[in-house]
Structure formats: structure tokens, C-alpha cells
């Protein structure tokens, strides 16, 4: 069974490499897109040296956590859930439901994306660089913890995609929801959460736990204790990740049950 999923994923990866020119343009565009965000951040940081008591490299670490987990989540879920509203509207989803495999796994493995390679490279580079500059050396345990954190953060990102696109089962359109509750709200993550109003901090901790993507877990590595809530929050990312992802998965199942084909 797993072999089958693997075959789907491999084929979809290879199809994207087929058009090399297009793949290359996409790489350039993506690299430029990411580096713009990065350069804008650097412009501010080189001018002011510190934002809300966080140093340049601490903020870069925040940035790296965000980008890596985003890229991992996008590799698997962006294709599937980004196209979900259209698939629902055009009745394409029917085809998937008739397949004798778990629709979630089928969707994810056929829509896996090859376009995020450059993101991994850049974000990993930034992470290693800023860890080095901060004088943080990873021993066995902290390395494992770092990996667990990243996995947890990716789950949160993926849950974010899913929860904001699954409402398309009822509304047939969800790009507004996605833009506001995912894109705009994760914009807050670029800077330490403590510079924002308490309400925003509470919102991003309890209601939409995006703060666990980088703000809390990073504090463990740089020995900071910030935020208006318990200092134990810096250990919670893996758990929050799994819980939110399971929640999102249940939501997806609920959407699937409510799915009425639009026909055509």
C-alpha cells in the first residue's frame, strides 16, 4: 500500500521536472520571492539592530523556523488544499472519492510539490548561520528536540492550510478565509510576538496556535522567557502540532461527509 503512495508521489515529482524551463523560472521566482522577504527583514535589522529586545540572529532564527515549517507543510499540503476549492466546484473530487484509497493520502501524494527545494536550502542555511552566530551548539538531545519542533511546526502550518480551505465543502470558495486566517495572521510570526497587543498574543496562542510555530519553540534554544503565558509553552510545539493536525483532519472528514457533488 505504501509502495503505491510512493509511486504516486514520485510520478508527480517527475512530471514537474519534465518542463525544465518552467521549473527553472519557478526556482528563480521563488528564490527572489523569498529573498525579498528576507532582504526586507535584513534592511530593518541592520538599521535598528534589535526589535523588541530580540537581536538580529534571534529574529533570523524565528524566520528560519517559519520558512522551514512552511516549506515542509507546503510540499505536502499546498498543492492538495490550495486546489481543493476548485476541485470541489468542478466536481474533480468525485474522481478521487471513487478510488479505493484514503482520499486524504491520495490527494496529498498526487499533489506533492517539487517547488520548495530552494526554500529548504535558504532556510536551513539561515538557521545554521544564526545558531552559529548565537553560539548555540546542538548536542544530541537538543538536535532531536529541534527536529521534533520543526515537525510539530510543520503540522501546525499544514493544519492552518487545511482548516482555512476545507470550508470550501460548504461555501465552494475559501480563498478569502485562507488569505485572512492563514496568510495575514502568519505574517505576525516574522517578529517576536511580544511586540504586539496582548489580544493578538492570546489569539495566536489559543485560538489559532501559530505562535507555536516559532515564537515559543525558539525561546527554548535562545534561553528566553517571553510572552504573557506560562514558560512551559516553549516545550509544547510537538504536542500542539499533533493535536491541531488531528483536529484539522477531523474537520476534513466532516467536510468530506458534507460533500455534495456539484455534478457536471
Amino acid at each position: 500500500m505504501i509502495g503505491l503512495y510512493w509511486a504516486f508521489a514520485r510520478i508527480s515529482f517527475l512530471t514537474q521536472l519534465e518542463y525544465r524551463g518552467q521549473y527553472f523560472m519557478r526556482m528563480v521566482a521563488k528564490i527572489l520571492g523569498w529573498s525579498t522577504g528576507f532582504i526586507m527583514l535584513m534592511v530593518l535589522l541592520q538599521k535598528f539592530r534589535t526589535v523588541g529586545g530580540w537581536s538580529i540572529y534571534e529574529i533570523l532564527l524565528l524566520y528560519a523556523f517559519d520558512v522551514i515549517s512552511y516549506s515542509i507543510a507546503s510540499t505536502f499540503c499546498m498543492g492538495a488544499f490550495g486546489k481543493l476549492p476548485r476541485m470541489i466546484r468542478q466536481g474533480e473530487l468525485d474522481g478521487i472519492l471513487t478510488k479505493p484509497v484514503n482520499p486524504f493520502v491520495y490527494l496529498v501524494s498526487t499533489k506533492i510539490s517539487a517547488g520548495y527545494t530552494s526554500n529548504y536550502v535558504i532556510a536551513l542555511g539561515i538557521m545554521v548561520f544564526s545558531l552559529k552566530k548565537l553560539g548555540i551548539s546542538l548536542n544530541g538531545f537538543s538536535l532531536v528536540w529541534l527536529i521534533l519542533d520543526i515537525i510539530g511546526a510543520s503540522f501546525i502550518q499544514a493544519a492552518g492550510f487545511m482548516v482555512t480551505t476545507v470550508p470550501a465543502f460548504w461555501l465552494y470558495k475559501s480563498d478569502g478565509l485562507y488569505r485572512l486566517f492563514y496568510k495575514n495572521l502568519t505574517d505576525f510570526l516574522k517578529y517576536p510576538l511580544s511586540i504586539y497587543h496582548r489580544g493578538v498574543q492570546a489569539l495566536l496562542t489559543f485560538l489559532l496556535p501559530y505562535a507555536f510555530i516559532n515564537f515559543y519553540p525558539v525561546q527554548y534554544f535562545i534561553h528566553k522567557q517571553e510572552g504573557m503565558f506560562s514558560s512551559y509553552f516553549q516545550y509544547l510545539t510537538p504536542i500542539v502540532g499533533i493535536v491541531t493536525f488531528l483536529g484539522a483532519y477531523c474537520f476534513w472528514l466532516k467536510g468530506l461527509r458534507a460533500y455534495k457533488s456539484t455534478g457536471s
Binding site: 518552467q22 523560472m25 519557478r26 528563480v28 521566482a29 521563488k30 527572489l32 520571492g33 529573498s35 525579498t36 532582504i39 526586507m40 534592511v43 530593518l44 541592520q46 538599521k47 535598528f48 539592530r49 534589535t50 526589535v51 523588541g52 529586545g53 461555501l171 470558495k173 480563498d175 478569502g176 478565509l177 488569505r179 485572512l180 496568510k183 495575514n184 495572521l185 505574517d187 505576525f188 517578529y191 511586540i195 504586539y196 497587543h197 493578538v200 455534495k260 457533488s261 456539484t262 455534478g263 457536471s264
Partner: protein, 274 residues
């Protein structure tokens, strides 16, 4: 189809019409929600910026920039953002792929101006329904100063030229679709350059010299940064005149580029399908 069958079962055309009305009403609501989400999203972006400016200014060096001018900068920049949105590249690539471009080539109205006015109409709509609300409220909340009329006139002039410059850039990039067959990524590249060099995110006066140097050689800063600096009253008469001249220069350059490109395309074009 489902709706149709359901109403047929129950019988009666009236119900069918009711269902149709319900559907279109739902669509309208959807549209309103979309608008609401857009407005909230714009607010969030402005709020994040304001928090960052606050945090930075609290830490010390604002480099002479005070909170009010940074807040005003941020808000005017988001208005410019609304006015320079564009889907020209996507439109053109759709037309090329579907072969519609063949019809556009023989039409009496120029494709370029058709695209321009179409886009401007949409953008003015979003300025009216999203922008004005945001601007009025933030002006009240942070009690920002309103510039005098003798500044507003050159501001509007400079902004209008900036919008046309941006449109020309997007249109030229859109025309490249004849060689690409897909406009998504060229569009992304232009947008990245726009964000980096126009000052839409961060005022150019915070840029390091080398980056500002590159920006000097590109047209992007005349779209956002220069009009806003005029608005903030930080430009003398001679500087304003110089800025407007530079905008004229860029417009001429872009105009000639577009003409040449267009003539080249007309001569060498292969049209798919039709």
C-alpha cells in the same frame, strides 16, 4: 443540476426561481465576506507595521523619522498598493493561450488601453470600498496631519504618473508571455522587484546605501516612495520638479520599449488555435 432536479421533484417553477435567487444571494454574501476579509487583512498588515515602528522607535534610533510620519507612510503606501494591483499578465497569457489575442489584434480599440482602463476601474473600486475607510479611520485614530492643498496637487500628479509607470511595467512583463506561454513566474519576479525597490514595505530612507543605489537606477521608487515623500511634505519645489521629470523620462522609456516590443510581436507572432 442537483438544484434543478430537486426543484423539479417538488414541482413548480416558482420554487426553481426562488432557489436561483437564493443562490445568487449567497454569491453576493460571499462577495461581501470577501470584501470584509480584505479590509480586515489590510488592517492587520497596517497594525503589524505600526507595532514594528513602535518597537523600533522605542529602542532608540528612528533616524529622525517620528511615529506620525511612519504611520502616514504606511497608510498611504497601502493605498498605493490598492491602486497598483494588476492581473494584466494573467489576462494576456489567457488571451495568448486561448487564441483570443488574434481578435484583439484586429480590434479598433488598443489592447493596452483596454487593459489599463479595466484595471483602473477595478482598483478605484477597491480604493473606494476598502481604502477610504482605512485611511479615514487611521487618520482619526493616530490624529495624523493632512497636508496643504499646494502639496496635494503635486502628490496626485506624481501618484498618477507612478500608477501609469507601474501599469506599463506590468504590461511589458505581460507581453513577455508570448515567449513564456505562462505569466505566473515573470509576474512573481516583477512583484519581488517592486517590493524590494519601491519602498512599499519599508521607506527607502532606512535602506543601506548599496541597496538604495540599485533602487536609484530602477523606476520602482517613483511609484510608491517619491509620491509619499511629497505627501509628507519632505520635498522642496525643485525636488518635486525633478521627480516629475524623472517620471516623464521613465514613462518615455517604457512607452518606447512597449511600442518596439509590440511591433516585434505583431510581425513575428504565431497564434495558437483560434
Amino acid at each position: 443540476m442537483v438544484i434543478y432536479l430537486e426543484t423539479r421533484k417538488r414541482g413548480g417553477d416558482k420554487q426553481m426561481y426562488m432557489t436561483l435567487i437564493k443562490c445568487s444571494f449567497k454569491q453576493q454574501i460571499q462577495f461581501k465576506w470577501d470584501l470584509l476579509f480584505h479590509i480586515i487583512g489590510d488592517w492587520l498588515r497596517i497594525y503589524i507595521k505600526i507595532c514594528i515602528w513602535n518597537a523600533l522607535l522605542m529602542a532608540g534610533s528612528g533616524d529622525g523619522a517620528d511615529f506620525k510620519s511612519l504611520a502616514a507612510y504606511t497608510i498611504v503606501a497601502s493605498m498605493v498598493m490598492l491602486l497598483t494591483k494588476s492581473h494584466v499578465a494573467e489576462d494576456l497569457s489567457d488571451r495568448v493561450r486561448s487564441g483570443m489575442i488574434a481578435v484583439d489584434l484586429i480590434r479598433p480599440i488598443s489592447l493596452k488601453w483596454y487593459c489599463f482602463f479595466n484595471q483602473i476601474g477595478e482598483n478605484l473600486f477597491s480604493l473606494l470600498f476598502e481604502g477610504v475607510l482605512i485611511a479615514v479611520i487611521s487618520w482619526k485614530v493616530w490624529s495624523l496631519p493632512i497636508p496643504e492643498i499646494k502639496i496635494i496637487i503635486p502628490f496626485v500628479l506624481c501618484l498618477t504618473m507612478g500608477i501609469i509607470i507601474m501599469f506599463y511595467i506590468q504590461y511589458i512583463i505581460g507581453l513577455l508571455v508570448f515567449w513564456m506561454k505562462d505569466g505566473t513566474y515573470t509576474n512573481m519576479i516583477t512583484y519581488a522587484l517592486f517590493v524590494m525597490f519601491s519602498g512599499i514595505e519599508i521607506p527607502l530612507w532606512f535602506y543601506p546605501d548599496w541597496l538604495r543605489g540599485i533602487g536609484q537606477a530602477l523606476p520602482f521608487r517613483f511609484i510608491v516612495h517619491e509620491p509619499i515623500v511629497i505627501w509628507l511634505g519632505q520635498m522642496g519645489v525643485r525636488e518635486i520638479a525633478f521627480t516629475l521629470m524623472m517620471q516623464m523620462f521613465w514613462l518615455m522609456t517604457l512607452f518606447l520599449t512597449e511600442r518596439n516590443l509590440w511591433n516585434f510581436i505583431k510581425k513575428n507572432i504565431e497564434i495558437q488555435g483560434g
